[in-house]
Every structure is written in structure tokens, then in C-alpha cells.
């Protein structure tokens, strides 16, 4: 159920009816959010609904344990009931593997029961330790199995073949559950934050379920922190006209970016990446530029739509994109691009690895490893690994050159500053584009063919510059305005007549410039 479809609008309208009717009954409202989120997820893939329910039950217990508190019988019972409810989904006709799934759930139930029995008898410190390890291992195991099993099995087999050995493993056709990377990271952050004392463990499974599965951000983020989102389920929400108007504006803008910009320029990129060897240099460059804007509009469009929906519901989701293509350095880029992931990687990977506390060499290692794993987070492919390595490499290079420190010492305003910034932005934009080439290419051979084609230096004029410009120009105008007024959401502050015109432009664009068939978001694959 894509956000931009009538089906979703109908779903959201029904949810809002129940949501608004339960404004004074917080727990019931949280239950509605949770159930609605599960219904939303079931539209994607009913098979994996039980997975998210199971993982929620495990994270719930792990969270309480990570706080050091004893896990009460009531909490254990609720978690096991939750697990049972999740396993009941496997009885739905047409779903494969009822018996194995029930067996696995039963085993997990016994394991949780046993785990609770054991940790409740230990010291709070040990309980914390054991719960964090169990929660993290369980979540990473789920992610590893569903996302990386085939990748590592294939790679191991290839390596064996290279060395002359036939390893003869069995490839499992593991299907990737939509959004697994996002909700897994959200749960991991929660368990670790509880252990660190940054948030209180949730003892209300309904509230926690709503937090883990909150449907606007369930399948593609932003990856929310418990300290920000979970707390909002503790207090009554306000439905206000301002929240509705600004939320709807944000949703509309996100939908415009996705449907009008990303979906219309994606054929340019697809055509080029499908057969780079038969394209002119101009077509390759336009194709790469198209993908550069496509991925931004696709992903940031989703984030904006998610934030808009949440705001209509009286909730706040974090900003995930902040005009990333005006970054002057790689570190600035990662402060502006997919902020929820980059800050997650910083807080739960880079800093635990030692951050910049162990001297330059360790800092470079940590940066590189963090970006490498950040690349691998996107998917089990060597192109994503190369993309992560490339970004790790340029982060190190800029650090070696002390660019960020030098910039901090320079005057921020004036003609020379503008010229300097423009140059740095241009360089960073080209580096980012190269990164997207690694990211989008089917394999590393495609990257080679692409670069060879670009180096030919011919056929610049015949490329579809006009089509790309037609769809990207309004985006650039809006972003320039956002930069100028230093406000990502300037629309509510415009005069009424200007607001009307912007709204009409967005609506007419959505109605008449959108491709006929809606297409899924790129980040749903991650």
C-alpha cells in the first residue's frame, strides 16, 4: 500500500476516524495505531507480519531487562501472548509453513520464558548485560538471515570456486521482509538506549508495539529513537488545524518529489543503467544526474510524506534530509543525507568503535568501517560495499586535508566565501554522483563500462537534458528558497495567495504530471 495511492488515502481516512474518536483514551489510541500499523504492514506482506510482532515481543522483554529491572510475570505473559498472536497469523490460508513457524514460535516462547527465569535471578548489572546481548544478537540474526544469508553464501561459494573448491552449499531463496533494516535498527537503538539510561524501558507492550511498527515510518524510516518517538506515545496527542495544514503541506511536497520528480526521471536513469555500453557520454551523464535526483526525491519524498502523516496525527518524526546536495564536505553531506541512519551509525557504531578518541589512525579505521557497514546496511551487494568504502575513503581524505577545520576558520559570508562554497559544493556534488554510480550499478563491471563511456566525451547535445531540467527545475527553485530563508518548511509562512498558488501547482502537478502507474519507493528494497 503505497502512500500515493487512493487505497492508502482510504486507509488513512479510516484510521484517522478511529484515532480522532479516541483522543481522550490514550491506551486505546495507541492500540489503534498499533493495529493500523499491522494492517498497513499486512498489505505489504502478510507473511512477515508475524515476524515484526515476534521481534517486538523479544525487544520488549530485552528492553525491560536492559534497564536492569526484573521482568514481571505480567510483562512476560503479555510478551508471550503477543508472540502467540503473531504465530496465529500463520494459520491464514495460503501462507506457507504453518507447522515450522508454529514450532519456531513455540521454541522462541520457551526460550523467552527460560531467559526471563534465568535473568530474573541474577544481579541487575548481569540482567542488563544479558538482555542487551540477547536483544542485539536476536535482531542482528534476523537481519543477517533475511538480508545477508544469500549474499554471504554466494560470496563464500564464489571464493571457494576461485580457489578450486566446490563448497556445495544450498542457496535458500530468502525473501527480504520490507522495512526490516529500518525497524531492526530502531529496536536495536531502543535496547541500547535503555541500557545507556537514555530512555526508560517501556512496560506497556501496546505502546511499544505502536512505536516499533508506527506505519508512516515503518517501511522506510526515518529510523526513530525511542527518546523522541516512544515518549510521544506517553502523552495525549493534539489534533490541530495547524498540524493538519502543515502536515498536509509536507505530505504534498513529499508526494510531489516522489511522484512528479523521481518517477518521471527514473526512466532516464533506468535506460542508461540498463545498457551503459550503448549510450553516449551525454546520455550517461544525464542518466547519472537523473539517478542522483531520483534517489533524493524518492527517499526524501517518502520521509516528508511520513513526517506529514505523523504531524496530522499529532506526532513528530525527525527530519531525515536537509538539502544534502549543497554539502561542501562529506561530513556535511552525512549531516544532511538520511540523517536518521547516519546519526544511528555515529551513535551505535562509530562512537562504540572508539570514534575519534584513539588518534588519527584509529579514527580513519572507525570512519571507514562505519561507512562500509553503512553501505552494507543498504543491501547485500558488492556495489553497496564499494559505495560505503568510497564514502569512507572521501571522509578520510577530507579529514586528512583538514577541510572541515579549515572551513570553520574561514569567514562564512562575502563574495569570496560564496565562490569558495560554490566550488566545494560542486566538487562534493560530483563525488556524490560518483557514489550513486557505485550504488545504482548492477555490478562493478557496469561501473567500468559507465566510466569508459563517460570518458568518450561525445554526444552531449543529444541527451535528454530538457526532460531532466523540466522536472528538476522546480525542485531546485524550492531548495534555493529553503536555503535563502533558512527554513525547510517555509510554505506556512508565505502570504495566503502565494500559499494558494504553491498548493495549486503541487496538486495540478500531481494530477497531471504523474506517471499513470504508481511505483514503489527505492528504499523499500533496503
Amino acid at each position: 500500500m503505497l502512500f500515493q495511492t487512493p487505497q492508502f488515502f482510504a486507509f488513512f481516512a479510516i484510521v484517522m476516524l478511529f484515532y480522532a474518536a479516541t483522543m481522550r483514551r490514550l491506551r486505546l489510541q495507541n492500540a489503534i495505531v498499533m493495529v493500523a500499523s499491522y494492517v498497513f504492514y499486512a498489505f505489504w506482506d502478510l507473511r512477515f507480519l508475524s515476524l515484526i510482532i515476534t521481534a517486538t515481543a523479544v525487544a520488549f522483554i530485552a528492553g525491560i531487562g536492559a534497564s536492569g529491572a526484573r521482568i514481571e510475570n505480567r510483562q512476560l505473559r503479555n510478551a508471550l501472548l503477543f508472540l502467540g498472536a503473531g504465530s496465529a497469523i500463520s494459520f491464514v490460508p495460503g501462507l506457507p509453513g504453518t507447522a515450522p513457524y508454529l514450532g519456531a514460535c513455540a521454541a522462541l516462547g520457551v526460550a523467552i520464558f527460560g531467559f526471563v527465569a534465568v535473568v530474573n535471578r541474577t544481579t541487575p548489572e548481569r540482567r542488563q548485560q544479558a538482555s542487551v546481548v540477547a536483544g542485539v544478537v536476536f535482531n542482528l540474526a534476523l537481519l543477517g538471515f533475511f538480508k545477508y544469508f544469500n549474499f554471504f553464501a554466494d560470496s563464500l561459494s564464489d571464493l571457494g570456486r576461485l580457489l578450486g573448491a566446490e563448497l556445495g552449499y544450498v542457496t535458500l531463496k530468502v525473501v527480504l521482509p520490507v522495512g526490516i533494516s529500518f525497524f531492526t535498527f530502531q529496536k536495536l537503538a531502543y535496547i541500547i538506549d535503555v541500557k545507556r539510561g537514555r530512555v526508560e524501558a517501556s512496560t506497556d507492550l501496546i505502546k511499544f508495539g505502536a512505536f516499533v511498527a508506527y506505519f508512516p515510518q515503518l517501511v522506510a524510516g526515518p529510523i526513530e529513537r525511542a527518546g523522541h518517538l516512544l515518549r510521544q506515545f506517553d502523552v495525549p496527542r493534539q489534533l490541530t488545524w495547524h498540524g493538519f495544514a502543515t502536515g498536509a503541506a509536507l505530505f504534498l511536497w513529499g508526494m510531489y518529489k516522489k511522484v512528479v520528480v523521481a518517477d518521471n526521471i527514473s526512466p532516464i536513469a533506468n535506460r542508461v543503467f540498463d545498457a551503459p555500453g550503448s549510450m553516449t557520454s551525454g546520455e550517461l551523464l544525464v542518466g547519472l544526474l537523473a539517478f542522483t535526483f531520483q534517489i533524493f526525491c524518492d527517499f526524501s519524498g517518502y520521509s516528508d510524506m511520513a513526517r506529514g502523516l505523523a504531524r496530522i496525527m499529532g506526532l513528530d518524526l525527525m527530519i531525515n534530509f536537509n538539502i544534502p546536495y549543497v554539502s561542501r564536505t562529506p561530513s556535511e553531506f552525512w549531516e544532511r543525507w538520511h540523517i536518521s541512519l547516519s546519526s544511528w551509525l555515529r551513535d551505535y557504531l562509530y562512537i562504540p568503535l572508539g570514534g575519534n578518541r584513539g588518534g588519527p589512525l584509529l579514527t580513519y579505521r572507525n570512519l571507514f568501517l562505519t561507512m562500509l557497514l553503512g553501505g552494507l546496511w543498504h543491501g547485500a551487494s558488492w556495489t553497496f560495499v564499494a559505495w560505503g568504502a568510497f564514502h569512507g575513503g572521501i571522509l578520510i581524505a577530507y579529514r586528512l586535508l583538514n577541510v572541515d577545520r579549515w572551513l570553520a576558520a574561514q569567514p562564512p559570508h562575502g563574495a569570496s566565501a560564496a565562490l569558495r562554497d560554490a566550488g566545494l559544493i560542486a566538487i562534493m556534488f560530483m563525488l556524490t554522483m560518483f557514489g550513486w554510480l557505485l550504488f545504482r550499478a548492477a555490478d562493478l563491471a557496469t561501473v567500468g563500462a559507465f566510466m569508459a563511456g563517460l570518458a568518450q566525451g561525445e554526444g552531449w547535445a543529444a541527451a535528454p537534458w530538457a526532460t531532466l531540467g523540466f522536472y528538476v527545475a522546480p525542485l531546485l527553485v524550492v531548495q534555493a528558497w529553503q536555503l535563502w530563508v533558512r527554513d525547510l518548511e517555509f510554505l506556512p509562512r508565505l502570504p495566503a495567495f502565494a500559499r494558494l498558488n504553491v498548493a495549486l501547482f503541487l496538486v495540478f502537478s500531481l494530477v497531471f504530471l504523474a506517471p499513470t502507474a504508481p511505483s514503489a519507493f527505492i528504499y523499500f528494497d533496503f
Binding site: 494558494l500 495549486l504 495540478f508 502537478s509 497531471f512
Partner: protein, 381 residues
């Protein structure tokens, strides 16, 4: 006063939005303005409005379409009903391809066919009974009720990819124990609304000039068609053909897209109805446009071989001349044939008629001379 003020502001905003939309579309997404000018006929199906001239404008063309005093696409008056001795006539029945939408009359399929036949020394007056949106069921009624009196020598019926669905949707005929039976019902979709709207001052201007109106009507029509298809449990039929055979890249008939048995029965009945009035019957395939160099036969896709029914397709001729820089279909309009497409299709039809010798015996020397002269009549200004 407050509610009145709010109402006033609301109306002003709606009015402004409409103006904004019109300019938006003209600037960013020009729409093809292809009005149809149809009304209800006495035979329960649609008919072209007689004696009208209207513009069709798209980013590619700006043409005037005229329907004569009998609602035929022709810049000239219709000939007398009674055939002159030695006069040959060819009747066209079908949809907007045969009407020649998005082409001016000299380049429309009918006139091109007439010119081709004259050049081949088998002159015939082409009488264009086609109506935009028609399927085979309506075409059959046209042959039975409208064409018969004109005593044509040849009836050419178009076969288009939308026909299978139209034939089911119109519910004009049904199969009972394998036999075709008229339901006795009428099929006049949207006619009562459009008739009423036609009486509204300014409406004609709107359909010929407003991009917003055209776009909204198109969207509403598509949505309604999809909704009706959904209701009949065959949502995919609305977008037929959809799937494709990966080996041949040939699109497959969409599941639920019409009924092959009904289509065949309608075609057979059309052939028999033509024979009953002394005319030969030719089924003319309208190839499905895929891109400038790839076309699919709607006949192969939906019907397959048709024993006992003469048929011809311009698909091979289209493919033979296809080039990336040659448009045979109007790609920014409603995918009707361009002048080049009309000329090529007409050549294929004329060559097929000549090959079959269908017009060889219908005219004597005097009649042929009259027919040749008739094709050169000056067009109505």
C-alpha cells in the same frame, strides 16, 4: 454575513483554481483536444452529429473535422442515396481511426483510400460511417441499419484492440447457445449528458479549447472505465493488452478482455450482414502502437486466423517503413494515425481490394468516369 463571505471566498478560490489549472496545463502539460461530437442515433447507438465542423488540436496537429449532412466524415455533401449507374461505393465502419481523427480530411484514411482506389483505376466513393468509440457490436448495427440503404460494394470494418472490451461492455448482443442474439438494448454512454452540455452556451468552445476540461474529462473517463471493468471483475481488461510473451515481446490478450466467442460471432454476423446487402466484407486490422518501430497486430492478438472472413493488416507495411524519425501514430495525441500512417493504411486496403478484384465489376466506363470526377469535388470551405 460570515457564511456568505466564506462562500464567496470559496467560489473565488475554485474559480481561480480552474484558471490556474488551465494555464498550468497549457504551460506544462498541453492536452490533446480531441472532441468527438457524437449524439444518440435512432438505432440505439451513438452517431456523429450531422453538419458540424470542429477543431482537434494537439501538440502535433491542428485540424478541422467536418461531418456532412449524414454524419459522415467528409468535407463534401453526401452523394444521393441511390447509386448512379456504374458507381462504386465503399463503406467504412469502425472507430476514430476510420473517422480520421487528428487528420484533416484530405489526409484522413477514408479520403486517402478513395484517392488510392481512383489511382488504381477502380474509383469508388468512400462513405465513412465510422463513429469514435465504436466496437464491433455497434459496427454490426451500423451495417444493418445505416449502411444498407447506400448499397455499398465493399464494407471495410476496423478491428481495434479496444473492441473486445467494448463488445462486452455495450451489451448490445449476447451469445445464447453459441448463437448471436441482439439484446434489444441501447448503448449510449454519456450521450444524454453530452447532449445537455452541448446546449449550454460556451460548452463547444470549452471542449475545443480548454486543456483543463479535456484533461479532467479524460481522467474521469479512464476512471469510470476502470471502475466498470472492476465491477465486471476484469480490471485488467481496461488496460488490455498488458502482459507480454518474453520470447516474442508480443503482448498477450489481457485476462478477461472481452469474449473471443462473442467477437467472432459479431464479425461473422457483420460479414453476413454485408453479404446480405450485396457487399464484400473486409476486416481491417488497426495495429497496436508499441513504439515507432514496433507494432502488434490486434487481430493476431485477439482473434487469430479467421477462416471465412477476409482480413488485412497494415502491420507489415508499417514495420517495413518504420524508422525512429518517422511517426505513423500521433504520439502526443490519442495515438491516431498520422498522415503517413493514414496513407500507408489506405494503400494496404486499396491494394487488398484490388488484389481481390472486388471493385472490378461494379462500375462501367461511365460510372468510373463519374466516380473519378466525384473524388475531385472541391472540398467545402
Amino acid at each position: 454575513m460570515r457564511p456568505l463571505r466564506t462562500l464567496g471566498i470559496g467560489i473565488a478560490i475554485i474559480g481561480y483554481a480552474l484558471v490556474f489549472g488551465e494555464f498550468f496545463l497549457r504551460g506544462f502539460a498541453p492536452q490533446p483536444l480531441v472532441p468527438r461530437y457524437v449524439t444518440g442515433g435512432p438505432d440505439g447507438i451513438r452517431a456523429n452529429i450531422a453538419n458540424v465542423a470542429f477543431r482537434q488540436t494537439t501538440p502535433e496537429v491542428d485540424v478541422v473535422v467536418r461531418y456532412n449532412d449524414h454524419g459522415m466524415r467528409d468535407d463534401r455533401p453526401a452523394p444521393p442515396l441511390a447509386k448512379a449507374p456504374g458507381e462504386c461505393r465503399v463503406a467504412l465502419v469502425g472507430d476514430s481511426y476510420f473517422v480520421g481523427f487528428e487528420s484533416d480530411f484530405p489526409h484522413a484514411f477514408g479520403k486517402q483510400l478513395e484517392d488510392r482506389l481512383a489511382a488504381a483505376r477502380t474509383p469508388a466513393r468512400v462513405l465513412d460511417f465510422a463513429v469514435s468509440g465504436f466496437g464491433t457490436a455497434e459496427d454490426l448495427i451500423v451495417i444493418q441499419r445505416r449502411v444498407a440503404a447506400w448499397r455499398p460494394d465493399v464494407v471495410i470494418m476496423s478491428w481495434h484492440a479496444s473492441d473486445p472490451d467494448d463488445n462486452v461492455r455495450s451489451q448490445l448482443f449476447r451469445l445464447v447457445d453459441g448463437r448471436l442474439q441482439p439484446t434489444g438494448g441501447a448503448f449510449l454512454p454519456g450521450v444524454s449528458v453530452s447532449d445537455r452540455l452541448m446546449r449550454v452556451p460556451g460548452y463547444r468552445w470549452l471542449i475545443e479549447n480548454s486543456h483543463l476540461y479535456s484533461a479532467l474529462r479524460e481522467k474521469a473517463g479512464t476512471a469510470l472505465k476502470g471502475f466498470l471493468a472492476d465491477l465486471r471483475g476484469k480490471a485488467q481488461a481496461a488496460e488490455a493488452p498488458v502482459a507480454s510473451d518474453p520470447a516474442t515481446e508480443m503482448p498477450a490478450r489481457a485476462p478477461g478482455a472481452g469474449s473471443a466467442a462473442l467477437d467472432l460471432a459479431l464479425l461473422t454476423a457483420s460479414r453476413d450482414a454485408s453479404r446480405a446487402i450485396g457487399a464484400q466484407f473486409l476486416l481491417f486490422d488497426i495495429p497496436i502502437w508499441s513504439n515507432r518501430t514496433k507494432f502488434y497486430s490486434a487481430q493476431v492478438l485477439y482473434l487469430g486466423p479467421l477462416p471465412g472472413i477476409a482480413s488485412v493488416s497494415p502491420q507489415d507495411a508499417f514495420t517495413a517503413v518504420a524508422r525512429p524519425d518517422l511517426k505513423l501514430y500521433h504520439e502526443q495525441g490519442h495515438l491516431h494515425w498520422t498522415d503517413a500512417g493514414n496513407a500507408l493504411a489506405a494503400r494496404v486496403a486499396a491494394d487488398d481490394i484490388a488484389r481481390r478484384g472486388w471493385l472490378a465489376g461494379c462500375g462501367d466506363a461511365v460510372g468510373r468516369a463519374k466516380a473519378v470526377a466525384a473524388t475531385r469535388l472541391p472540398v467545402t470551405p
